[in-house]
Symmetry: C2
Subunit: 287 residues, 2 copies
């Protein structure tokens, strides 16, 4: 047992999978669920993701509280939770951006900010909600924690142990570097996939196009099936780094456009070859 | 038996899988292989994709000759083949672009152009070469044929029957519409994936970024593992339609950039929601 009671704020894919994995590992005794959506709480209860629904006062008495919801809601939720936090309670989150979460937590938790451990599990799915939760979601995945200079060492140790119990590999990263890295390898691809599908869908003859889309299109656009609310929040929360990445990507596409327009076979072959080599190198290292 | 002898010009994934499927279906007696790469021909022989290697004179005596190579080589190959074509021999191809293939075939085959059936199997993999060939590659997949006004009806019927024997669903499409549709749903996503990976790979600190790339990145960039030569040829062969799609995509990304920059939450939610809905609709229709 790592903690006695865990409270989930948000009982969807991320929070629910955290709970299932910890229960399976015997790392927690009781899991409470807090959320505004009664149907989602009922589904979480039904699936055994939580043992019971709770209010903010009860959640504040848990040993550890995980925020697993769109990052735009962090400030609001922490303000509701803060007055009820018992001494020693640890608060952590699973948001995809970290600088804005750290700022929101610092403002909302004030002197209790030292009990806050910012985190980001690098796992997910284009599926969301309690129905998508599974005990093995974090198995072998990375979880990045971005502790601050004043984060309590024992709070960091407890959150690390919890994630390790889910089967994840825990790493720490500077929050600013975290946000720049994920803007490039996660936020940009999501935005690029959403933009491509939306551009096709808005065409009057879009159906003709979708009719011939095949497996390349399916995989390229898988992440365009992700939660619109979650990605709206991420794009806004990590606005600066996302804009930097969008600019770099648009410039790369414009360079590619120039090469196609100039029928520059060598330049095209160079771009495609470098990309294939880099991706193959990455895949082999990863597996 | 649909044809007695088949000649493959190109014995990689596409040609090799065509042969395996036809042999399994008992639709062909003997398969010849033509290619400049002795190692590739040897591998094709070893895997049973072809029964023997052949030269242009022998290939021209086959009942049906399939071109399965980068579209940029179509003109050269057809000029080598043309003088040897026996009466009644049917020529077809598996190229991802059709207007340029039709033009190349018309120029190279002259009065024998009526025996040419332009085709495009909508199947493939980021893997290539004889080792990647498999008998079920075309099972349940679409094959688009773009016959011209002067294409012989019985040649079209034979090529249709061959593809159907591989398990594919055969459709016909106007060559111009084909090229515009595939520029949008196939060529653009490939170029977009190549551009994204190359942009990251060219950064001095690229390794830090790749280190945290996960499953969303993996699927988005799967097609960036495709053959650089094949995609160079496609980009050049379908230049006009590809430029139109690149422009539309860059404009969509710029609109998205404006929404992020203006912190326009509603506009972002609208783009992401439309995209998710369109993709889910497509996936459900498809499966």
């Amino acid at each position: 047992m790592i903690v006695d009671t865990l409270a989930l704020v948000g009982t969807g894919l991320i929070g629910g999978s955290f709970s299932l994995a910890l229960k399976q590992a015997g790392a927690v005794r009781e899991v409470l669920g807090v959320g505004r959506n009664p149907a989602s709480l009922a589904a979480a209860l039904e699936r055994g993701l939580i043992d019971r629904a709770a209010d903010w006062a009860e959640a504040g008495q848990a040993d550890c509280i995980l925020l697993a919801l769109p990052v735009g809601e962090t400030a609001t939720v922490l303000k509701l939770l803060a007055p009820h936090l018992k001494a020693g309670a640890i608060v952590t989150d699973a948001g995809s951006t970290k600088l804005n979460v750290v700022a929101a937590a610092r403002a909302a938790l004030e002197n209790r900010f030292t009990d806050f451990v910012p985190g980001h599990p690098i796992a997910g799915s284009e599926q969301s909600g309690p129905g998508a939760a599974r005990a093995d979601l974090y198995q072998g995945r990375k979880v990045v924690l971005t502790p601050q200079a004043d984060t309590r060492a024992d709070a960091l140790a407890t959150v690390t142990a919890l994630w390790q119990a889910t089967g994840a590999q825990v790493e720490t990263l500077d929050a600013d570097l975290h946000d720049r890295v994920f803007a490039a390898v996660s936020h940009l691809p999501h935005l690029a996939a959403f933009a491509l599908v939306d551009e096709l869908a808005r065409r009057a003859d879009g159906d003709t196009f979708f009719r011939y889309a095949a497996s390349g299109f399916r995989d390229f656009t898988r992440i365009a099936g992700s939660s619109p609310e979650m990605w709206r929040d991420i794009a806004l929360a990590n606005c600066e780094a996302v804009l930097t990445e969008l600019d770099a990507y648009i410039a790369a596409l414009q360079a590619l456009r120039s090469a196609v327009s100039a029928e520059d076979a060598e330049a095209l072959l160079a771009i495609f070859s470098r990309a294939r080599e880099a991706r193959n190198h990455w895949i082999h290292k990863k597996t």
